[in-house]
Symmetry: C2
């Protein structure tokens, strides 16, 4: 069964790249993590949603009995996100009867909970019917509609079934009938999300009204429509209502809200050819990547408001770096990669995927991080709920992250490859089969543990055709071989490839040098001055107290900036990881001490303890 990209372009072709027409991950690193997602995380969803009251809310809306469960008006979105994850997963395991029946059951429950006029948000239906559309700042009604639409698009695209799409379209039609210039409400939602979802719905159905509605929501934001609803302690940027996005100079405010909005900006630029939106998105992305992104790809420097900080305000200990924000960053960057064809966007997708995002789910698939700091001190306990969320938890009172991780892992193949009239591009490296740009390739690799990527052509046009892969910006040295001794070359900034007449069975091999390296921070980042970080390939490493020599206080560990680094694969450790070790020094007495750094994405999978990515130079 074929799964198509989450961004299927059906209209204006103002993108440099189109998503793969088929993409399947069949082995290697991501196949392992996705297997846990399919076998543990996703099946765990419905019981968790039942226990947290989300399903009871739907039943209460359906039969008009019972009270609302949960602390947040957006509880329904957990259900929608789980349905989206399940739908992408069904593309790979359509024979999974339990998954199919859960999906059908939840879809039926949503349909039964929906009001005759299309409205569907159990918080307002059950708890506050008189307040429908009355509290756009906090209500999350359009946000929930957006996640419902995304789930419905995924379900329709992977199964061809219309039941969930019917529910979503009915709600979308109510929104379109209600919101807009000259309609009942001229307003926007306090949490962007419906904008990108409406573009998806347009792509899925071809109905122009959804695209226009997305454009309306994007452009009406930032004009103070939400003002009355807001808490000045958080500031208008929290709701992305501080400035019209076309006039924004920097990413700001609540990170997930900002990045979902910018994903929609990229979508609109792609579908409408709006050059101003594209230029704004490019500028904001560049500024975010340079001044407001952690080494792990994580974003959001502040607990307060779950927000971006000032440029270069990137504290490792108080990093919020919400798992959902990493996901939103990946979604936006991928849209930018397609829009522009530039490799730098997929560089950030890679950094975020392997580090800031992947740390969000435990190796067991059943324990989660909401907050992803780059440092945890000895003795850390966490003084409040948000702090404690930096320790793995089975579920959250505000459970946005777990089903978000599920849907990203389930849809991961979509981010791997793209194509254009010239050929096929591999953005990420995972064993699998990718069809794009008129050809199909098979990739085999032990990445990120090993640097060899072997690409075998399975189908290519009977003409000149370009096969290229992203040359990661972290990569200093590489070798590449192609058939007949042909020399691969840069086919664009950050792209290594070869244009030739390819035949099935032709092999293109690239060896990326994965020697571990010490990374110095940007000198403008005050919070990690005088430190170095260990990286290897796309992986950021960290020290966990668990792995260090006994007898030296964790907080006394330092690392000379010229320390030789040694990598070794440890098949028995944390599911099999490559660790990097180096001779460090104790600040207390200058004694030499061996430091052992594991990949950041596996931290917090053992007993709680201190951790740091940035190690003081010494």
């Amino acid at each position: 069964m074929s799964s198509s990209g989450p961004i299927r372009l059906t209209a204006h072709a103002s993108t440099a790249q189109r998503p793969a027409t088929d993409a399947r991950i069949t082995g290697g690193f991501w196949a392992g993590r996705r297997r846990v997602n399919a076998e543990v995380s996703i099946p765990q969803g419905p019981p968790r949603l039942e226990a947290a009251g989300n399903l009871a809310n739907l039943r209460a809306a359906a039969d008009g009995k019972g009270a609302f469960s949960g602390d947040f008006p957006f509880q329904d979105s957990d259900v929608h996100k789980w349905l989206e994850a399940a739908s992408w997963q069904l593309a790979e395991t359509p024979e999974d009867a339990e998954l199919g029946s859960w999906t059908a059951e939840l879809t039926a429950l949503l349909a039964s909970a929906q009001e005759p006029d299309g409205y569907l948000q159990t918080y307002y239906q059950v708890a506050r019917p008189e307040k429908r559309w009355q509290d756009l700042g906090w209500g999350h009604e359009l946000y929930c509609a957006g996640h419902l639409i995304q789930a419905a698009v995924a379900h329709h695209r992977t199964t061809g079934r219309r039941e969930l799409l019917d529910v979503a379209e009915k709600f979308a039609a109510l929104v379109d009938d209600t919101f807009g210039p000259g309609k009942a409400i001229d307003g926007v939602c306090g949490h962007p999300e419906i904008e990108t979802a409406l573009v998806e719905l347009y792509r899925e159905t071809g109905e122009r009204r959804w695209l226009d509605l997305a454009g309306y929501f994007v452009d009406r934001r930032g004009h103070g429509l939400l003002e009355g609803d807001l808490n000045p302690h958080l500031g208008q940027a929290y709701w992305q209502d501080h400035t019209p996005v076309r006039e924004a100079g920097s990413v700001a405010g609540h990170a997930v809200r900002q990045l979902y909005l910018l994903a929609a900006v990229a979508d609109l630029a792609a579908e409408t050819g709006d050059g101003e939106l594209r230029a704004v998105a490019e500028h904001l992305w560049t500024s975010m990547a340079r001044t407001k992104t952690y080494l792990t790809g994580g974003v959001g420097a502040r607990h307060e408001g779950e927000a971006f900080g000032e440029p270069y305000e990137l504290p490792p200990d108080r990093a919020y770096a919400e798992t959902c924000a990493a996901i939103a960053s990946i979604q936006w960057s991928w849209r930018m990669a397609l829009l522009t064809g530039e490799a730098k966007y997929s560089d950030l997708v890679e950094r975020t995927l392997y580090n800031g995002f992947l740390a969000g789910v435990g190796l067991d698939g059943d324990s989660w991080l909401y907050v992803n700091p780059l440092q945890v001190r000895e003795g850390y306990e966490g003084a409040n709920e948000a702090d404690k969320a930096a320790r793995r938890t089975p579920w959250f009172r505000c459970a946005c992250c777990p089903p978000n991780v599920m849907r990203l892992l389930a849809s991961l193949p979509h981010y791997m490859a793209s194509g254009d009239a010239q050929g096929l591009r591999l953005h990420q490296f995972a064993t699998g089969v990718y069809e794009a740009g008129g050809g199909r390739v098979r990739v085999e690799t032990a990445y990120p543990w090993e640097g060899r990527i072997t690409v075998t052509v399975e189908e290519a046009p009977d003409a000149d055709w370009t096969l290229s892969l992203r040359l990661p910006s972290w990569c200093g040295e590489f070798t590449a071989t192609a058939p007949d001794g042909a020399a691969p070359a840069e086919t664009g900034p950050g792209w290594l490839g070869l244009r030739r007449h390819w035949s099935p069975g032709d092999v293109f091999t690239v060896d990326l040098d994965l020697s571990p390296r010490l990374t110095r921070p940007d000198p403008y980042v005050d919070a990690v001055r005088g430190c170095v970080a260990v990286e290897r390939g796309p992986l950021v490493h960290c020290l966990e107290a668990e792995d260090q020599e006994p007898g030296v206080r964790f907080e006394d560990l330092t690392l000379p900036a010229d320390a030789p680094l040694r990598a070794r694969h440890e098949p028995g450790l944390l599911g099999g990881v490559t660790v990097v070790s180096a001779d460090g020094r104790s600040r207390a007495d200058g004694t030499s001490v061996r430091l052992t750094a594991v990949p950041y994405h596996v931290w917090a999978n053992r007993r709680p303890g201190a951790m740091r990515v940035w190690i003081p130079e010494g």
Copy 2:
């Protein structure tokens, strides 16, 4: 007219030192700042309170008409704190008719607003009468009662008048009748404050019930009594309800709440001789001073929850360091200084007074800082209300800080000197007259600009008597001269003095070396690693963009750790300050650039711009 200490010990003599029986600041640095407080800040209070609705709330409570103004249930406390400031001020300017009439008018307004049973909090009286005592977590009723009591004690002590004391005692009696074991409510307030106020009321009136009630509130806290009221996002430490204070291992949670509570712990230890409370207070103070205090004396590392962070979590940019928390720290440390007689407590009082506290009020006496960061980057604007509060503001929606500054400056003489059976100790150095320990001295000094402190004995017992002054911990070198060539010596850790038969007219002179110095941070403070700070005497200095050479980006300024420092007094700058300059270097191109550092306490008195205390080494 004589003003006595805010801590007048009337009961158990389990303190090492007693407050001065008279203390007046007559000239020099603090006289100037206190003049602005008396002539600008305090007179500005009543119109501000009128404009903000605080007085309208009192009238509404009195006549039963009108709605509640303001966003917070504790609005009344702004009135109480202003009354306390005005009362201390009346000790110095009893002839100030306007101040006297304002004080009388507000006192009458409070009396008219008070319920027949003694209750007085306009928020609950006007807006939510059915909720009296129902929301102890957020209601601030006992907190407001505490500030009312403190104002009443000050008013009674400085004027001998009972009107305000009658109001306060009536409210206190209602609290005592309502709260306690076996009474209507077994509970504590979400914001400590009444505890230390009740000890003051006990000192003022001699009534034991107030001391017992304070002890009850201190010991009932931390047993989960507030649990139902709390927001898990903030955590129980926010309300100081996470642990009984006798079991606390570290200062934690909301900084002002924590420190007001600890002031009461010191008070109780002083009045009851409770050794366990004293030991807890000593331990918590030491741990705070070592691991949770900024170079400026500021405390509270987190915007979220206005809270202490983990040990060594001291970001300069996101420092909250609320002005009120600096005041609370001074109040607690002073009580510890009296309790133990140890100089280190007054060392911290000095550091906090001259830096973290004093920055809270503008040189004009009419512009305030709520948040006192140690770094503001180029281009900083502040994304929300709390961030903007790091720029001077005429008043705040939550206006706790301005009247708190007023009351501390008005009562400042109380923190200068103490006495015991042996003699008199000068804790701080300000031109004035101080009577304690059975004698009286006159101090003349241009401190903190100059290091000479001249102490002339005006009265001393006709017997051996010890005159000593605190030798600041920052002071490396000093000279001291005494009559007849006598050699002053350490009279205790951190105390420099002389025991002899003093005669009126005897002069004791100390010259503290004020050479500017470069301070390296504690290596465990991650956020300022690789930086140095400029200090001179008790003053922390900072770079403000305004003073630096043009042509070099502020964020590129670095300072070699061995750079020679030059100090010069600039009488025309910022009211007259000593600036420190040094040859730094631009990170961008290595060029030499002169850096000019002004005292931190005068920052943000010109146009907004970048600032930093910690300067990258380069």
